[in-house]
């Protein structure tokens, strides 16, 4: 980055912090020769270096599946060959997202250590609590679009892969060197999912997967027959992203106000048609038939089939469709170690334990319903062994469906996040 870019970055950082008013920032940018486009630059809080990269928190470039980023290293990884520390070992995770028996208890027994699980409701809550120091954790679940933020805030510890042989041995090759953390310096992948549509094929006449644009089921007047039985994910990125994909807009990380505004207008059109519920409980609602068509995460369909079907209801009543690689979104989450942890060796062993094939398989089939990023997981085998119903074979992602070339919700600039959040708030206001 040249000297002018550095000065521009310093001005923008001071503007972001509130040290400069907009007028002062514009004057300062003009003084370094940036006049045309200065306003837009402030609006998007981004700098454009020669590669045209946008930056997020801490000035780290925003990663994309086609623009991988190597994160700056905070310190050095621990040395190899050290003995694990004594417990208790603190893990931080969503509720009901790691199995006590097959994962936590087996780790406890193997390393003779007490594992204590603390849960959070949302990733924002998790990061707030970690950043404020109100929780003292050793390892945490994390999503890719927040990794750079946590690295910028020096919350994460770099990894020594000598302790994590299962990463190279068991995990999808395409996720061993992910675009959001090249070299897996801080994270290991956990679970995968795609976003699509789940429905009850015993209640819904239409062959949703057979439609030329299956997303259109949320906008079709015929869907008013299912009014009150339709659901959309209660998530700003997923809901507005669905409207974008329906309209053929494939840049689901856009910060263009016009595109976001159109997605909002499109999303509002679903309300008079089907009065959709906004929630993330489709794993239960589809199983119990309180919802018949729901924008869904693939893992929730499996969870519904494996754990939530009422007695006497066969999981074959559930169906799932997603658009496929590059046309629909996939996501994985990850685990990372906290820089403040006093048990880094145990932390590395925990990550390796999560990536063990048997542990991951049992966690998936016995508890979460979410597919781990394990190369050994095969849809045909799962169907043959009657682990998953044949009608839900397509919820299992293959290695070539994730990684480079896939569509994924990624980190935005603060301005971009605000645009999406405001649009979503306006949608959910019903105005």
């Amino acid at each position: 980055m040249n000297n002018r870019d550095s000065r521009i970055e310093r001005i923008l950082n001071r503007f972001n912090r509130g040290d400069f008013s907009r007028r002062e920032a514009l004057r300062a940018l003009g003084a370094v020769g940036l006049v045309a486009g200065a306003g837009r630059l402030l609006d998007f809080q981004a700098i454009a270096d020669e590669a045209g990269k946008q930056t997020g928190p801490g000035g780290i470039a925003l990663s994309r599946p086609d623009k991988p980023v190597t994160l700056p290293l905070n310190g050095t990884p621990i040395k190899s060959g050290m003995e694990p520390e004594k417990g208790p070992f603190q893990i931080f995770n969503y509720q009901d997202y790691v199995d006590q028996k097959s994962v936590i208890d087996t780790f406890s027994k193997k390393y003779n250590v007490e594992v204590q699980l603390t849960t959070f409701d949302t990733m924002d809550q998790a990061i707030t609590r970690l950043a404020s120091g109100s929780v003292d954790m050793d390892a945490t679940n994390i999503v890719p679009d927040r990794v750079a933020q946590m690295v910028a805030g020096k919350l994460l510890a770099p990894l020594n892969h000598d302790y994590i042989p299962n990463l190279a041995k068991n995990i999808f090759k395409s996720l061993q060197n992910p675009f959001y953390d090249q070299g897996s310096q801080y994270t290991v992948p956990y679970n995968l999912y795609a976003t699509g549509i789940g429905w009850r094929n015993d209640k819904v006449k239409e062959d949703i997967a057979g439609l030329s644009n299956p997303w259109s089921v949320f906008w079709d007047d015929k869907t008013s027959a299912y009014k009150g039985y339709v659901g959309i994910l209660d998530d700003d990125r997923e809901s507005l992203g669905m409207a974008m994909l329906h309209a053929g807009e494939m840049d689901v990380n856009t910060e263009d106000p016009a595109v976001i505004e159109k997605a909002l207008a499109d999303l509002k059109m679903t309300v008079p048609i089907s009065n959709p519920k906004m929630n993330i409980t489709e794993y239960k609602d589809l199983a119990e038939a309180t919802t018949w068509i729901h924008q869904s995460w693939s893992g929730d369909l499996l969870g519904a089939a494996l754990f939530y079907m009422p007695k006497g209801t066969d999981p074959s009543v559930l169906s799932f469709w997603w658009p496929g690689k590059g046309k629909g979104t996939t996501q994985n989450d990850a685990w990372a170690l906290l820089a403040s942890s006093k048990k880094p060796v145990l932390g590395h062993l925990w990550l390796n334990h999560l990536l063990d094939s048997e542990v991951a398989y049992n966690n998936f089939t016995g508890f979460t319903g979410y597919q781990p990023a394990q190369a050994s997981i095969n849809a045909d085998d799962l169907v043959k062994n009657q682990v998953i119903p044949a009608n839900l074979k397509n919820v299992i992602l293959t290695e070539d469906q994730v990684g480079a070339g896939s569509l994924q919700y990624c980190q935005l600039t603060p301005k971009g996040m605000a645009l999406w959040q405001n649009a979503y708030a306006r949608f959910s206001s019903g105005a």
């Binding site: 519920k277 309180t290 959910s428 206001s429």
Partner: protein, 296 residues
């Protein structure tokens, strides 16, 4: 006999509680509304010094309350729901409180204990129980089908406003009955006897004596339930989840739950507090007037 300072000292714990657990957190909300955000974690960075306050978020949020804009729609909807829920709660709660106060003799203690029972269960659990009862295959629909009152089970939870209003009534009516009961109990029975002695019928005595004397109790109980209803986000989430029924509390929840705009959530909270302060002012003026009329 007792020093003058003794009785005011009894107020000290309450005042300390008020300052530590209300005024300080409230000022923290003000600090967030007029403050900034951490550039890395996007957490709120409150601004404590009024001279350094940033008014951008508040002004932008205020624009949303102009008629036709999104917050205006939600505020009107919230006010309508609260008004309906309050009316429903009074129609249900007043007769219950009146009966226990005036006519329950041997059963008064039992009825009081039953009134307190809902407080043993958290609001969240009571709402979840409501969802189970009113689901498509829940016990309410099973009863309605069995009794031939309906032929197809109604869908109570499909995102309609009636469910939200009924949910608010169900959740808050216990909090209305107890203070109303206390107010009715305080009415001097000799005043009622005097009315009857002067030829008033029971209905007339109720309308001309009991009801006006219970007005402070009605207002007080209404304030106790209306204020938290305005900020409720859980009830519409649980019984509806539809954009058609979101309340102002849901909007505040979106901004406080995450993202780079906690100042917007704090601004919404302050504006809602301002609106409720206007209602509180009406309550306090009315109480003062009523006290003046009663005591001359």
């Amino acid at each position: 006999m007792y020093p003058k300072w003794l009785w005011p000292v009894f107020a000290v714990p309450g005042v300390v509680w008020l300052i530590l657990l209300f005024l300080v957190p409230f000022y923290a909300v003000i600090g967030v509304a007029f403050g900034g955000i951490d550039p890395i974690f996007m957490n709120a960075v409150p601004s404590w010094n009024p001279a350094e306050w940033n008014y951008d978020s508040m002004l932008e949020t205020l624009k949303g309350f102009l008629p036709g804009n999104s917050y205006w729609t939600v505020l009107v909807r919230t006010t309508v729901y609260v008004a309906l829920a309050l009316t429903g709660s009074l129609l249900i709660g007043y007769p219950v409180a009146y009966y226990i106060s005036r006519h329950a003799k041997k059963t008064k203690s039992t009825l009081l204990a039953l009134l307190v029972l809902p407080f043993w269960v958290s609001y969240m659990m009571r709402m979840l129980a409501w969802v189970n009862l009113f689901s498509l295959n829940g016990y309410i629909n099973k009863f309605l089908i069995w009794s031939h009152l309906v032929t197809t089970p109604p869908d109570w939870l499909n995102g309609n406003p009636t469910s939200v209003v009924l949910g608010l009534i169900y959740g808050y009516v216990p909090y209305l009955i107890l203070p109303l009961l206390a107010a009715l109990d305080r009415i001097d029975r000799s005043v009622l006897e005097a009315a009857r002695d002067l030829g008033a019928s029971p209905a007339s005595a109720f309308y001309h004596v009991t009801l006006p004397l219970s007005k402070p109790g009605i207002l007080g109980a209404s304030v106790i339930i209306a204020l938290p209803m305005f900020g409720d986000y859980y009830t519409p989430n649980i019984v509806s989840s539809s954009p058609r029924t979101t309340m102002l509390g849901n909007q505040i929840d979106i901004y406080f739950h995450g993202g780079p705009q906690p100042a917007v959530g704090a601004s919404l909270t302050l504006l809602l507090s301002g609106f409720l302060a206007v209602l509180m002012a009406y309550y306090m003026i009315t109480i003062a007037r009523t006290q003046k009329e009663m005591h001359g």
